[in-house]
């Protein structure tokens, strides 16, 4: 064993630019990522439908949450209308595959592109305003798009909703949990790799510069307008892909699902996971998807016979989400990703942490 590696490292130090620009921070992290994807490939063989359903949910919500993290965490803009774009992706993919004969295989990325276009359009005010004005503007766009979903019968089927045909590849229909899991996993891997890569590009660094100090960024020659609108577009693209996967999984898209509440949940995922962390988006999504399940489990544990608690379950879940957001912001504003980093550092230096 080489002498440099026989000694214990006291931290992660990058000594070259190449090391600083890797997708995964350490070779170990890369190996863990590859192995976990391989393990997930085996998941449909050994998990039952309930757990697969949870994993699929984590998949499509995770993609959308990563999109929101790009606009909120990396670019420092606030969006309260993410659920509307998620819904737009779901409706667009269903509409494209129903009306033009394009197979679902292609309609999902096409729906992403359509959402991207709408996102760029809605992003135009985002180029001009920022901070809480932007939050309020996106709140308005949430209500306007929601109203559009309820009204545009040619596109969404109005209050009746739209049917979404199942995903198929080479005539092989993948509508069971087992087979659809692979579709979602494929997209999750692609989108998260793309997201991690985006942060290594010129555009990704420009986003971070806009977030950290937009005046300095502008002085350095970064076109603020362009990058603010671009980050909105990219985030809508992610939301569109996530929404399309959601639509084809359920097979039915209804206008009621994409309310402000879902937008808040997306923001909760991003904040609980950690702003400005690709992996954090995934951690936050896992937390947010599992929280209601845990609440349900807890309620059944406490009082399976008391009907008042079971009736109040929907409210308890909602309260738990609200409370989780508040508590995380007060006690751990940097999110789970930060907590994870601290745990790693603790064990890296164990037992001599000073």
């Amino acid at each position: 064993m080489a002498s440099a590696h026989s000694r214990m490292r006291c931290g992660e130090f990058r000594t070259t630019y190449q090391e600083d620009m890797t997708i995964f921070p350490t070779p170990l992290a890369r190996r863990v990522a590859v192995v976990s994807v391989l393990l997930l490939l085996l998941a449909p063989l050994c998990l039952n439908a309930y757990y697969l359903n949870l994993l699929i949910q984590i998949g499509y919500y995770g993609i959308a949450a990563l999109g929101l993290n790009i606009v909120v965490g990396f670019t420092g803009q606030i969006s309260l209308g993410h659920a509307a774009f998620f819904g737009l992706g779901a409706f667009a993919s269903a509409w494209i595959s129903n009306n033009s004969g394009i197979p679902v295989f292609f309609s999902i990325p096409l729906a992403g592109l359509l959402t991207l276009a709408v996102g760029l359009l809605v992003g135009i005010p985002a180029g001009r305003i920022k901070g809480l004005y932007l939050a309020i503007a996106t709140l308005a766009s949430q209500y306007i798009l929601e109203d559009f979903f309820a009204r545009a019968e040619w596109f969404t089927g109005g209050s009746a909703g739209a049917m979404a045909s199942p995903f198929s590849v080479f005539g092989h229909i993948m509508n069971s949990d087992q087979s659809y899991f692979y579709v979602v996993l494929f997209y999750v891997v692609i989108m998260f790799m793309a997201g991690a890569n985006l942060m290594r590009t010129r555009d990704g660094r420009a986003f971070v510069a806009v977030r950290d100090h937009y005046l300095s960024a502008e002085i350095m020659g970064i076109n603020l307008n362009k990058y603010r609108i671009l980050s909105f577009g990219i985030s809508s693209f992610y939301a569109g892909i996530g929404g399309a996967l959601f639509g084809h999984y359920l097979g039915f898209v209804s206008a009621e699902g994409f309310t402000l509440l879902l937008s808040i949940q997306f923001l909760g995922m991003v904040i609980i996971g950690g702003l400005g962390s690709v992996m954090g988006s995934m951690l936050g999504t896992i937390f947010m998807v599992l929280l209601p399940e845990v609440m349900e489990f807890g309620v059944h544990l406490v009082g399976s016979e008391s009907t008042t608690l079971t009736q109040a379950l929907a409210y308890i879940k909602e309260m738990a989400i609200g409370l989780a957001i508040i508590l995380f912001l007060i006690f751990e504003p940097d999110g789970l990703a930060h907590r994870w980093r601290m745990i790693k550092n603790y064990w890296k230096l164990y037992p001599f942490s000073y």
């Binding site: 004005y133 503007a137 308005a140 109203d147 989780a324």
Partner: protein, 297 residues
């Protein structure tokens, strides 16, 4: 074209508008003195109205006892909220502050729905709610009363900020926190007072609306409707919030009128203010009376 209906709707718009103005004023009060955008303003109305309802119906207190008790409860509620939740957020980035109030709004909405159920419940009749005929227009006395209450609140705010010690301290804090602190004003107390006043006055508005329309979770939507109002009037202008409230109140009734007469889109009453909001943000983001931020490098 139905002129009588049009005038009736405009009058309704003005009456609803004064209530929007009062709620917007509470919103602006918090924003101006503590720089917190309160997404939970609607929940203040909701909690206030339900508390009063519970006092009158569940505990069967007379109105003149239950109503002041509600206001005292909201006073304490506002202070506790500020101290426990908002004080740790001072100095945090704006997204965190916004998300905390959104989290609060979500939490209290669910909590209230859990305790009181999801259905609209009527207030016991405190005043006679017949309608009176003024210049050929049918106006409900409850509406009339709400307008009077709103006007009294507005005048009260005017004198509070002009002459009272706390009001002056609040204006000083809104102008510059550090200077205010160096002049011996307790910024902590000002922050708590802003939340307390805002909660109390919002609850008052909530009770008034509850008496007219019944108490339901729809009350919290007024907290969202407040955004078009304050953006139109300017985020940090008390006068702007009143003017904006009247304009948005009339606007949504006019939108309803045009929609029912010619367009037939449906739901314009609720959506038109948001279209207005986007347009205002595009052309005049600081609103009619808001101060324009100038950023120095």
């Amino acid at each position: 074209m139905n002129f009588e209906l049009l005038i009736q709707l405009i009058v309704n718009g003005l009456i609803v508008g004064t209530l929007y103005g009062v709620v917007a004023m509470c919103f602006v009060l918090i924003y101006k003195s503590t720089r917190v955008v309160n997404f939970a303003q609607g929940e203040f109305l909701l909690i206030g109205a339900w508390t009063c309802w519970a006092m009158l119906v569940k505990f069967e207190l007379p109105f003149y006892v239950g109503f002041p008790l509600t206001l005292v409860f909201m006073l304490v509620f506002g202070i506790v909220l500020q101290v426990v939740v908002l004080r740790p957020m001072i100095g945090e980035p704006i997204i965190s502050v916004i998300m905390v109030t959104i989290g609060l709004s979500m939490f209290f909405q669910a909590l209230v729905a859990w305790i009181f159920g999801g259905y609209t419940k009527a207030f016991p009749t405190v005043f006679e709610t017949a309608s009176v005929n003024i210049a050929g227009l049918q106006i409900e006395t409850a509406y009339l009363m709400s307008m009077v209450v709103s006007l009294v609140i507005m005048i009260g705010f005017y004198f509070f900020f002009k002459y009272s010690r706390m009001g002056l301290a609040m204006r000083a804090t809104a102008f510059n926190q550090q200077i205010a602190q160096s002049l011996g004003i307790s910024v902590k107390h000002v922050f708590a007072a802003a939340w307390a006043i805002s909660a109390v006055v919002s609850a008052l508005a909530g009770v008034v609306i509850g008496m007219v329309n019944g108490v339901s979770s729809a009350l919290s939507f007024i907290g969202i409707k407040v955004f078009p109002v304050v953006i139109l009037g300017g985020l940090d202008s008390i006068v702007g919030s009143i003017v904006g409230g009247l304009m948005i109140g009339v606007l949504e009734n006019l939108a309803e009128f045009f929609d029912s007469q010619w367009l037939h889109f449906g739901n314009m009453y609720n959506i038109a203010p948001f279209y207005a909001l986007v347009i205002i943000l595009m052309i005049k983001p600081y609103g009619l009376f808001g101060t324009k931020d100038i950023e120095r490098i």
